[in-house]
Symmetry: C2
């Protein structure tokens, strides 16, 4: 219990709620793009169902119809999936908690990207793991470094990765590295936890195969979510895994909370039946691609030259690197918040082993294009002032 | 992980879905009493909120407005509660998982009623506890037996109880025993997990004080739920506890699933703001009181004399005791299901330490009065046949 870290994410969610602060902090989708009218229709009709079933208890694995629909989405995305391979989760975050419960004993090593998703570190913490943090570049996790880590820590059993538009860096794992990752998993008896919340928010190029689709030995637990492609508020995520793993995840679901909301599952199922999810996602992709461009252009215009940012091919985030010695947490507290009235997530918390405080995660999906320009300009001026005479 | 029991509840939910079986198995509320029109209105308006907030992420402790409304409900029920004392959960079931994670190490003893709620045994299982099962009578847990168990197992730290209309027996813990339970908790350094899903479904008499309201040292974690008084499908439960316990539960919530569904919290909050929950609950109480009477009358008419049942003052269940040597699981499988086409929950699974197979939990809330009469008559004839020449 003492291993559970005070929640940086929770504090940031609170920060994002202050209307006086222009926040690039949270990983919030753009609320103006929520399909409200369509959601009103499917909730109205789910509630009206003469059986009353959408308001009643449901099987703990999830509504059979929704499991079949998710299996069809996965199959169309190149990952052949049967309905019984799908377990509905309380957001894909719940899959992180379950994977750690299932596979990690206190002191076991989890292999993670360096930096990695803060929410995963929080979910894994109750299992009391150690970490091996694998360096990344623009093509994702460095496979030579991973191989060396596996030789140094042969007992490591679980690897966690966000292969598409990673949180926080925005990097995407290249196809050759995906193939090599599966090969290493097979040779070193690893379970790979593939977390894909941003997978369908791609701005350019073609989708790469999921790790699950390359999996030859049932070693990949794939996590998906409707949070970024529909709305976060439903908390509908899912796991796809081979039967021996899925059966254990399913038992953990019963123990943890019995089931995800029946009504939210029923409404999501109706949405998928009646509406073209991919047409909606195409709108999101176009809007977020524009916002990413607006943000990068503003950064090029206003940020000091010595600050570099990534140019992701999708997702919600760019990752800024400040000069060595720069403390992004102190700058946020002492300058960005009180002077520029702008928030981001200081990068240090994303590193599992050795915090590198000269980074920040900057979200481009939540704010309007105008506010992105305003906020980045204010942040840039503040940065220039500080970096020229700190 | 190997401690997670195959889920009897899950199998029973599947059984209840077979339309050819008349099921008294699940703890389902009556779907014909769901306030559909009111729910349609609050979901429509929550989705339409111009801010988009009800469709977005939310603070992990729950929407502040809903926490305040639940605090007001608790206070009106005699348990003074502040909004910051309330943590929203994914059903109160999630509180069982969190309490075990927080307080139980492998091999630790949990004190439970004998019999106790099967879902609690499933939730506690991943923590790998031992159990001390405390005998019950019509007034709930036997306090002399509890005191003896505390002397025999001084390291026991957690006690789990359903004090109102217990699952599965329907028994209610008397006021003197509630007071003595708190006294024993104080003297033996116990945390008391008070689970109250049926508390407001009372047919007769006045409500007894919650254990939380009698708590003098911040030792009671109170769990509440809207599943039985509104609809189960929203999965909105809550914990009320003293700050040191609530802060730990709150960290476990972030780690487990980040948050409960924002939309379900927002819609529940609107429901409480606009409608009289207690007027709706009064309708439920009257309807379930009638159903209980219909069931007990049918049982008196059709069951063999040697089968006894409890007459609960509230809740959803009566508890049947068959003659010694009767195996309610085998009878269900070989007679009740194939011949009478009627289901109940065999009682053996509710005992944490020594299963007593000559019991059954029979639910009276889910079926119509006519089907209760039909089903109990069929079950009674089948029982008479079997008990006269087994």
């Amino acid at each position: 219990m003492d291993q559970v870290r005070p929640s940086a994410i929770r504090d940031l969610l609170a920060l994002g709620a202050d209307p006086a602060i222009l926040s690039f902090g949270g990983g919030y989708p753009d609320a103006t793009l929520f399909p409200k009218a369509l959601l009103q229709d499917v909730f109205r009709d789910a509630i009206a169902d003469p059986s009353g079933d959408p308001l009643q208890y449901a099987p703990s694995d999830g509504l059979p119809k929704l499991r079949a629909q998710i299996a069809a989405l996965m199959t169309a995305d190149g990952t052949p999936t049967a309905p019984e391979d799908v377990l509905i989760l309380q957001g894909s975050q719940q899959g992180l908690d379950f994977a750690a419960k299932m596979l990690v004993n206190p002191g076991d090593t989890i292999l993670v990207e360096d930096p990695t998703f803060l929410g995963a570190l929080i979910a894994f913490a109750p299992a009391q793991p150690r970490y091996a943090a694998i360096p990344m570049d623009a093509d994702g996790m460095d496979m030579d470094a991973l191989e060396a880590a596996l030789r140094a820590t042969p007992s490591a059993r679980l690897l966690y990765t966000v292969p598409d538009f990673q949180n926080p860096t925005g990097a995407t794992l290249s196809l050759p590295r995906r193939q090599r990752l599966i090969d290493l998993a097979n040779r070193h008896d690893l379970i790979v936890l593939e977390d894909t919340p941003y997978r369908h928010i791609r701005f350019a190029g073609d989708a790469l195969p999921t790790l699950k689709s390359l999996d030859t030995q049932g070693r990949v637990i794939h996590l998906g979510s409707f949070s970024k492609i529909l709305v976060p508020a439903l908390r509908i995520g899912w796991a796809v895994a081979a039967p021996p793993l899925l059966e254990k995840l399913s038992l953990l679901k019963v123990a943890a909370d019995t089931q995800t909301s029946t009504l939210n599952m029923a409404a999501t199922s109706l949405f998928l039946e009646r509406h073209d999810l991919w047409a909606h996602v195409a709108t999101l992709r176009a809007a977020y691609a524009r916002k990413k461009e607006v943000m990068l252009q503003a950064i090029r215009q206003h940020f000091p030259q010595e600050v570099t940012v990534t140019d992701p091919q999708g997702g919600l985030f760019t990752w800024a690197r400040f000069p060595q010695g720069f403390d992004a947490t102190a700058f946020l507290r002492d300058h960005a918040l009180p002077k520029a009235r702008v928030a981001y997530v200081p990068g240090g918390t994303f590193f599992a082993t050795s915090p590198q405080p000269n980074h920040a995660r900057i979200n481009f999906s939540a704010q309007s294009e105008d506010r992105i320009r305003t906020g980045i300009a204010a942040l840039g001026h503040c940065l220039k002032d500080h970096l020229s005479c700190p």
